[in-house]
């Protein structure tokens, strides 16, 4: 085969590779470049985080505004300390906001829902949300239910 034809075919092959990468990036992983406004960290302590994991989403009114970036145990109070990276475009979270661990559907994953409070002071980078609501653990609920029955 002629060298020129080979070069054209190889060029098409490379192009197919780049297009595949673009499809994987945009269509499959929903990669978006525009959200590089930076994030800020907000902490919250929970008594029980249930099945919350790193990369779980953080929502306000159902809209995803960030994700959980770190989970560790506080060795003094034995509560779970959850670090959330909130999108920089979401400002004006008041300091008395509530963070609750919720479940997506019946069997879905856990996520954090933030309800906005009324305080005029605003959460900044590294601040903590004090008003938290732990995950609902199904076994505990069933336990309570049974205790009431008998």
């Amino acid at each position: 085969m002629q060298m020129r034809t080979i070069e054209i075919v190889v060029g098409a092959f490379m192009l197919a590779g780049i297009i595949s990468l673009a499809i994987l990036a945009v269509r499959v992983s929903g990669f978006n470049v525009g959200t590089s406004t930076g994030t800020y960290a907000v902490y919250a302590k929970f008594e029980n985080i249930g099945g919350l994991v790193v990369r779980s989403k953080v929502t306000i009114a159902g809209v995803t505004v960030g994700q959980v970036s770190e989970i560790k145990l506080d060795n003094e109070t034995f509560m779970a300390v959850v670090k959330m990276d909130i999108d920089g475009s979401v400002t004006d979270l008041s300091t008395d906001s509530t963070a609750a661990i919720l479940t997506e559907g019946l069997l879905g994953g856990k996520y954090i829902g933030i309800s906005i409070g009324a305080d005029e002071r605003i959460l900044g980078d590294g601040d903590q949300i004090y008003d938290t609501q732990s995950a609902v653990v199904l076994e505990e609920l069933i336990g309570q239910f049974l205790m009431k029955q008998f």
Binding site: M3, I6, E7, V9, V10, F13, M14, A16, G17, S20, L21, I23, L24, A25, R27, V28, S29, G30, F31, R55, L107
Partner: protein, 258 residues
């Protein structure tokens, strides 16, 4: 007892020797300054190794994606969560099956051809004649093939994943009736570019390196007889398949936490 010990020692020394020779072939071919005038040779090899493998990659990718969708649907529908089908198929394809299966196919389709070609060149003493006229066969023959494998493999793996996901969406959405929006939305929600797609690409680059390295070395080190070529071709396919699977485990282990 002593003779057994001796043969064990001999065996381990010969393994070390093979590793050393393979390493030096690789080192001399790749790390010596890549020459720009060899670019046409690399392009020709990308055609031979990459472009000619596209058909088998696309066909296998489509079938595997379709089968994953069928099997996944059967399991997921029992829990009423068949909308997670897109996520499951995409993760499995992008992170594991895409790179691994395309590397195995690449070893069978392209690796064996490279070994046979170089082995025949050695058997018919083309390599030594090249040396006689002052052309370095490592530069002229080995290096372009190594580079071509290194470049083609990730492209083939990406194509495999994309076609597989397309096949899965055809079976899942158009045939089994999974809701299309949920199929793509769960996929985009769950698949992360950096922590999933990029890991798959890193894997396929490593596989391309290993498979072409084994193929080229087996050809270069062939015993110059027709049985020698046959044995070397077999060894290429066996060694690279095993190497890909073992390396896949260790790469996954290393990248697991990131």
């Amino acid at each position: 007892m002593l003779s057994r010990l001796r043969s064990l020692g001999q065996y381990s020394l010969s393994v070390l020797e093979v590793l050393g020779r393979a390493g030096s072939v690789w080192w001399q071919a790749i790390w010596r300054r890549p020459r720009l005038e060899n670019l046409p040779l690399v392009i020709k090899q990308i055609y031979q190794l990459g472009v000619l493998s596209v058909v088998i990659i696309v066909l296998s990718g489509f079938s595997i994606g379709a089968v994953l969708a069928l099997q996944g649907y059967n399991q997921l529908v029992q829990y009423g969560s068949e909308s997670a089908l897109g996520l499951g198929v995409a993760l499995v394809l992008v992170m594991e099956i895409g790179p691994v299966v395309s590397a195995l196919l690449f070893a069978g389709r392209a690796g064996s051809a490279v070994t046979a070609e170089i082995g025949l060149m050695k058997t018919t003493e083309q390599l030594s004649s090249m040396e006689m006229i002052g052309v370095d066969p490592l530069q002229r023959i080995v290096a372009p093939r190594l580079w071509a494998g290194f470049i083609s493999m990730p492209i083939l793996a990406l194509m495999f994943s994309v076609v597989g996901i397309w096949g899965a969406s055809l079976v899942g959405v158009n045939w089994l009736g999974v809701y299309e929006g949920a199929f793509w939305a769960t996929m985009q929600e769950g698949v992360d570019f950096k922590s999933h797609v990029l890991k798959g690409i890193i894997k396929s680059v490593a596989f391309g390196l290993v498979v072409t390295w084994i193929a080229v070395y087996q050809g270069y080190d062939t015993e110059p007889t027709s049985e020698g070529i046959a044995a070397a071709t077999t060894r290429t396919v066996v060694y690279s398949s095993v190497a890909v699977l073992v390396l896949d485990f260790f790469l996954t282990l290393v990248m697991f936490r990131f």
